[in-house]
């Protein structure tokens, strides 16, 4: 039994990504999308928290939203993986429930 957590806002604007990371359980995955993707960029003030989470849980970023914001895979924190919309669907079906952190 596991949960897919989605976060769609920057951690510099909202506390959703931070709160989400504090509530992860083993087997859970995080999908960062829309404005949230800026939080997955390396060398930010938030990067250490993402990197720590990525050691224990799958942390994914939506490629289409990265591209729209000029980000490439090389910009990402180590351990963060890229998924496209098809991968988004796979994540939803691979977990028992989805929690959208709004």
């Amino acid at each position: 039994m596991s949960t897919l957590h989605t976060v769609n806002k920057s951690p510099f604007e909202r506390s959703t990504l931070g709160s989400c990371l504090e509530h992860l359980l083993p087997g859970d995955a995080v999908l960062i999308l829309e404005d949230g993707v800026v939080g997955a960029r390396k060398a930010t003030g938030f990067a250490d928290r993402i990197a720590a989470a990525a050691k224990n849980n799958a942390v994914c970023v939506l490629s289409e939203d990265m591209a729209a914001r000029g980000m490439s895979e090389g910009d990402l924190i180590e351990g963060v993986t890229v998924v496209d919309y098809g991968g988004f669907v796979d994540l939803v079906t691979a977990h028992d429930r989805t929690q959208a952190w709004l």
């Binding site: 039994m1 596991s2 949960t3 506390s15 959703t16 509530h23 429930r97 929690q99 959208a100 952190w101």
Partner: protein
């Protein structure tokens, strides 16, 4: 497929997650409305209050100066709709300088225990909140 379509006798575990203070946005009030709808369909409802959502339960709310309806009394009516599980995160309270004493007294009457009046609010730590989330069929965020 079994999960397709409406089945009147299916009871799922619903968790409503409240993370915002009341009045600045419509989320807290909308959450209450949806909680009551879920209860009307006789689902197993839990309500979580974390981050700024804990402010929704602070006692002594007075909205007379801002021209908005004070809906805080509604939380104490949830018990009448068999919504008796309000989970409040301890860390969220502490981060905001609040304790359980700052929260409204919210109770329900337990029909399985000679209608004894019992507290609806249950304080949980962050790990327990995570476990609560993992125990649900459906999670709705507000």
């Amino acid at each position: 497929m079994e999960e397709d379509g409406y089945q009147g006798d299916v009871c799922k575990r619903f968790l409503y997650v409240n993370r915002r203070a009341p009045y600045g946005t419509i989320y807290a009030l909308e959450s209450l409305e949806v909680v009551l709808i879920g209860a009307a369909f006789e689902q197993d409802v839990s309500v979580a209050f974390l981050d700024d959502g804990v402010y929704q339960l602070v006692k002594g709310q007075d909205t007379s100066g801002i021209g908005m309806k004070n809906f805080s009394a509604t939380y104490n009516a949830l018990g009448d709709y068999e919504v008796t599980k309000l989970f409040v995160e301890k860390e969220s309270l502490a981060e905001r300088g609040l304790t359980a004493d700052d929260l409204m007294e919210i109770t329900y009457e337990d029909e399985d225990d000679d209608w004894a009046e019992k507290p609806s609010i249950r304080l949980v730590d962050r790990a327990e909140m995570a476990a609560l989330m993992a125990d649900q069929d459906v999670i709705l965020s507000f």
